[in-house]
Symmetry: C2
Subunit: 343 residues, 2 copies
């Protein structure tokens, strides 16, 4: 099983086969218009026959661009893109990039040393843009990227002060429609288990909840603070029930907390959804694993990935653009925790 045909057909071979110069072959392959039709056809056929693939290193050497985009992935504990969604997000980003001839280079710094190395790397012009899925990243890294003019796009609204481009889901609309759904199911005493205040998302979801209840002429005073893990959801639910016995609907700011809340409800003798309807946020795999399955607000992960990639491409093609923000609408994934099996 020795090494075989490291083919490496070069532009020169294609040009020779097509009977033209390398310059002309390059123009054809580069899609330049100033080429005769006959030359174009000859080159294209030769390239196809020889299975020609341009050498990326050579191309980026002359272009002065790396033809690659860095993606910073979050530490394992990250909230925003719960791990379950990470693969889908990365898939979407990679697809969009490769459709445009760029490659996705992944960074998952785990220590200060890693961040240092990463900083060096990015400073070296080794990527044309950076996509940040990690909101906790070192501020100094961000500042230096910004100073160097390297385009960067956040997934989710950045916590940092700097004016930046990002792609986010409309958390306010998500909270509102989750709550509206409970109202539409005839629920009247609807509680909210809020997410951690380490970013703007939790507050926006809470505001959405408030708005929906206000619009429906209902009170929105049943709010407990959670910490995003399951136990905090369970505790919050227990506290809510202790205060207010007649709760008939719950909107939790994450599926994880919703799962904890469902457990607390069941332990305390409430049937879901008969007595209390529960809806979460994220539409993570956990939503399918609870009993009954959990309704949730679905984040359009693939779309986010594609939009992030497009934004990065545009920013790296035309430098010095003003930051742009893209906010996507979430949609509801309805399951038995709110609509019952009979409906």
């Amino acid at each position: 099983m020795e090494a075989v045909s490291r083919s490496a057909t070069s532009l020169g071979e294609v040009a020779r086969a097509a009977g033209v110069s390398r310059a002309t072959a390059s123009k054809v392959l580069g899609g330049h218009p100033q080429v005769s039709e006959s030359a174009r056809q000859a080159v294209e056929r030769a390239a196809a026959e020889l299975g020609y693939l341009p050498n990326r290193a050579a191309r980026s050497l002359v272009a002065g661009r790396s033809e690659s985009v860095g993606v910073l992935i979050p530490e394992p504990s990250s909230q925003l893109f719960g791990d379950p969604m990470l693969a889908r997000l990365l898939g979407a980003i990679g697809e969009e990039l490769s459709a445009n001839g760029l490659q996705m280079v992944l960074f998952a710094p785990q220590s200060a040393t890693d961040i240092e190395r990463l900083d060096q790397y990015l400073a070296g012009g080794h990527v044309d843009a950076v996509l940040l899925l990690a909101l906790h990243e070192s501020e100094s890294l961000l500042a230096r990227l910004q100073a160097r003019g390297i385009p960067m796009v956040f997934g989710g609204s950045p916590r940092t002060a700097l004016l930046a481009s990002y792609v986010d889901v409309d958390n306010h609309a998500g909270g509102r429609s989750a709550t509206q759904h409970l109202v539409a199911q005839g629920r009247r005493r609807i509680a909210h288990i809020a997410g951690p205040r380490d970013g703007p998302a939790a507050g926006q979801r809470l505001q959405g909840y408030r708005e929906a209840l206000w619009n429906a002429g209902l009170r929105s005073d049943l709010v407990e603070q959670g910490a995003s893990d399951r136990d905090s959801g369970e505790l919050a639910m227990a506290r809510l029930l202790a205060t207010q016995e007649d709760i008939d609907g719950v909107f939790a700011a994450s599926d994880t907390m919703a799962a904890g809340a469902m457990w607390a409800l069941q332990v305390l003798g409430r049937r879901v959804p008969d007595d209390v309807a529960v809806i979460g946020f994220d539409d993570s795999p956990i939503a399918m694993a609870t009993q009954p399955p959990l309704s949730s607000v679905r984040q359009p992960v693939e779309l986010m990935g594609r939009e992030m990639a497009k934004l990065a491409l545009s920013m790296s093609a035309v430098r010095g653009q003003a930051p742009r923000q893209i906010v996507l609408d979430p949609e509801l994934a309805l399951r038995e925790s709110t609509v019952g099996s009979a409906n």
Copy 2:
């Protein structure tokens, strides 16, 4: 915020600052021994002062290597590396690669078109090795990679017939120690919910279960087939209890199924762990989200990632090596589902 200092210090500038030729500077930076001490120091200082970073494209153009390793990530539904572990695995791989000056390029083909494009890409020598986390990948892609002599390393035992290098966890040992743990807790009627038979892992875990019970002089006839999702675990547990009332321990081949089994037990009036102890496999986030928290067999994900990267590095440095297999020991993550809160 216009583009700033795209520094791009070149070797030439370093050489000039150090008062030597580019060739000598290159040798110093490349770690060649045939350089005078004075030249070495001058070059190193100049490089440090100028913040010199080699141009990757130029280097790989001349080296004829891409200095990058491709990683194929699984479709979202993949079993082996449940999404929750993916980020940790990728982090470990990336860290090991970047410590060796290589970059990790991610591929997440979602369609036949993507695979086609990927095949072209890999064929073009754009990566020095490929790490495969996706066991479902197209056979033809694997065959072509193999034919081209591109080093590849699987995560998990490959299902395909081809003789390949891989890094896997010892599933047999994992099943055995999970079961031994239940025995050590005084359990005597221990059931197993087996994983899907689409790979060798499930069978190996089952054999581990059988061996542990055999060694303990216990029967190992309580086996139900699951399908890896939660519902199948729940159903399997219900079937087991219908046949055998006195089950006091359960080893499920995945945390997901274990969660379903716990639910079935609780619905049927069994307390966990008082009446029945339950242990899963994977030590995924689900294990922390169940009530009570689930004991599980932990896969050494980070270690797997590092070993995969090292294997790939070695294979790309020295071609034509015989395939190598690395099998890592799992360890137990013990929680309340088997040891109780009082223990």
